[in-house]
């Protein structure tokens, strides 16, 4: 781990996840002081709060989740190559740097909409096809996810070449940033999908409260603590120009709310293994109590059923964990579900085994179906004046010797 990494974790990362309440508290103060708007007494205006765009890692990963997200799935136009992607990333990074700081983008036709960044983050990821384009100079070892038997994938929500994750506390900020980014991406890429998601509005709950999904469940209690980020979140040594990067798994999980309506609380809690009221395991008193999979009920069967979601998603192998940063979605047409977003340093090792277990058996499967699935390599962050992905896009072609070495390494990972 480099000095920069460590410094970042201490300065930003730790506050971002571990000390969520503290982080938000200080930002809140700052915003109140600087907010130019006339504010009713006691009403805090927080739209001026910013999350830094530049850094060792991209923002929007360990950043405490904002209330709104817009995930943009882009496909490079036919014939687009590394140079085009470079141009696009230069433009989009510039937009992101400006918008996240509360300034209109260059050529922003509505710069007034940019003045309240509301903790805006813009995070970029490259899909497998882009990575194939960059091989062999750049190869972080990302594989497409294996097929899962219960998935019912719709290409309309499928893998794209580029992902842009836009998050902010305010939906107008998100909408403006999305429009600006899509305008600047338009010469290079087409938009396959936009997946919008939301959590509780800022201030509705105490900061750091685990989100609830639209089935009413406390969702995301088990998350990756900051002390595991170096090992299980950030890539280190996997590929040149990728240290400080990570991988993103996006799963669009549709919920069968009609059938869920027919399912009462006993069945719901049994299905998940947690109480609906507070997310405590059925064997515990509070949300963060460790589930006791040995505890038995009156007849002698385990209180937390071995087929429950909690039991099936749990692994003895502590490597099979990842950072979860999900959002709810609800379409005007009635469909709703979860935008499952997970970050991991190694998708194959950390995420796939968990998903395979759930695919084999999980009581929750009766009500949830994954209809969209994609993976992305999330490059490390960039410094001021630079753009995300530059290093990997501008790598010189490897020498024959390097190529042989890279081949060995990739083989080892597969």
């Amino acid at each position: 781990m480099t000095g920069m990494h460590r410094r970042h974790l201490l300065a930003g990362g730790a506050a971002a996840i571990g000390g969520t309440a503290v982080g938000w508290g200080t930002r809140g103060l700052r915003s109140e002081e600087t907010s130019p708007a006339a504010v009713a007494a006691g009403e805090a205006v927080t739209g001026g709060e910013t999350e830094p765009f530049h850094g060792v890692h991209q923002a929007g990963v360990v950043t405490p989740p904002q209330a709104h997200t817009s995930l943009l799935g882009l496909d490079l136009v036919d014939g687009a190559g590394t140079e085009d992607l470079t141009r696009m990333m230069r433009l989009l990074s510039d937009d992101a740097a400006r918008l996240t700081s509360g300034t209109g983008a260059l050529a922003d036709t509505e710069p007034e909409l940019a003045v309240s960044p509301a903790r805006l983050t813009v995070t970029f990821g490259f899909g497998p096809r882009v990575l194939r384009m960059l091989r062999p100079a750049f190869d972080p070892g990302l594989q497409e996810l294996p097929a899962f038997s219960l998935d019912r994938l719709d290409p309309a929500w499928g893998q794209t070449d580029v992902l842009v994750q836009v998050c902010a506390e305010d939906p107008v900020t998100v909408a403006h940033a999305r429009r600006m980014l899509l305008k600047d991406a338009s010469p290079f890429a087409t938009t396959r999908w936009v997946q919008e998601g939301f959590r509780r509005a800022r201030g509705t709950e105490r900061a750091g409260t685990t989100m609830r999904n639209l089935m009413g469940q406390v969702d995301g209690t088990v998350n990756l603590p900051v002390e595991d980020h170096a090992r299980l979140l950030w890539s280190e040594g996997a590929a040149a120009a990728f240290d400080g990067g990570t991988f993103l798994v996006l799963r669009r999980i549709e919920m069968d709310m009609v059938d869920w309506d027919r399912t009462d609380r006993v069945a719901r809690e049994f299905t998940v293994g947690r109480r609906l009221s507070d997310g405590a395991p059925l064997t515990g008193d509070a949300e963060f109590d460790e589930p006791d999979f040995e505890a038995t009920d009156a007849v002698g069967f385990p209180v937390i059923d071995p087929a429950s979601h909690v039991a099936r998603s749990r692994s003895e192998n502590t490597d099979e964990r990842f950072l979860r940063r999900a959002y709810n979605y609800a379409m005007p047409t009635g469909e709703s579900g979860l935008l499952f977003v997970a970050y991991a340093a190694d998708v194959e090792r950390q995420f796939v085994p968990v998903q395979q277990r759930l695919d084999e058996l999980d009581l929750l499967n009766e009500w949830v179906t994954t209809i969209g699935s994609a993976v992305y390599a999330v490059p490390p962050g960039c410094v001021e004046g630079d753009f995300v992905g530059r290093e990997m896009l501008n790598l010189p072609p490897p020498t024959a010797a390097e190529q042989a070495g890279a081949g060995n390494r990739t083989g080892g990972r597969a």
Partner: protein, 210 residues
């Protein structure tokens, strides 16, 4: 004449039930999914039936519910020789079937938990007696018994205790059912308590409607 007796009996039963109430409440609290489940799917019948006496353990026990069951299902059949269930239960509509290995005479209990079509776990226990069982040594069909008692074991004692035990051990090594072997005691203690207390309370209330 019978009145004082009846009243006395009822009072005694009520007192016993009251004494057991804390235990009953504890049982209900422990098995949170337990009581409410009755409002959804319930067990309609079983073979062997609850509290029945049959000469020999059948090749399989079956549980029939009042609605379609989905699973997963867990069925334990515990007898004098320990666990008699052999392999995983199968679900067919409203019926759950569990193959068993024939065993000695004595008290048996079927403990089950099955998830119904509406997502509810339905669980309970069914005690019954085996009056004859597989008393005599027969031994030679041991492997057949372990495969799920392919021969007609009823009234034809062939499998001794040792064979049954080795069959159970195989099962445990097989994985899924191993957990249940370790927790058989709980099944008997808690389940029995529940059934006794529930039965007493029910009886008391019925005899002495306030």
């Amino acid at each position: 004449m019978t009145r004082p007796t009846t009243r006395g009996t009822a009072r005694g039963l009520a007192a016993l039930a009251l004494a057991l109430l804390p235990a009953l409440a504890g049982v209900l609290a422990l098995g949170g999914a337990f009581a409410p489940a009755q409002a959804h799917a319930t067990l309609s019948s079983s073979d062997p039936a609850a509290d029945s006496s049959v000469a020999q353990l059948p090749e399989e026990v079956s549980l029939t519910f009042n609605q379609e069951m989905r699973g997963p299902a867990y069925v334990l059949v515990t007898g004098p020789d320990g666990e008699a269930a052999d392999g995983d239960p199968t679900i067919d509509g409203t019926t759950v079937t569990q193959a068993v290995t024939p065993g000695a005479a004595g008290t048996y209990t079927i403990a089950y938990r099955v998830v119904s079509a509406d997502g509810h776990p339905v669980s309970g226990e069914i005690p019954f007696e085996i009056t004859e069982g597989t008393g005599s040594a027969g031994g030679s069909e041991g492997s057949g018994a372990a495969d799920g008692a392919t021969d007609d074991g009823a009234g034809d004692p062939q499998v001794d205790g040792e064979t049954i035990e080795s069959g159970a051990a195989d099962e445990a090594a097989g994985g899924e059912q191993g957990w249940w072997s370790r927790h058989g005691d709980h099944v008997l203690i808690f389940g029995g308590l529940f059934v006794v207390a529930g039965g007493l309370l029910y009886g008391a209330l019925r005899r002495n409607p306030a």
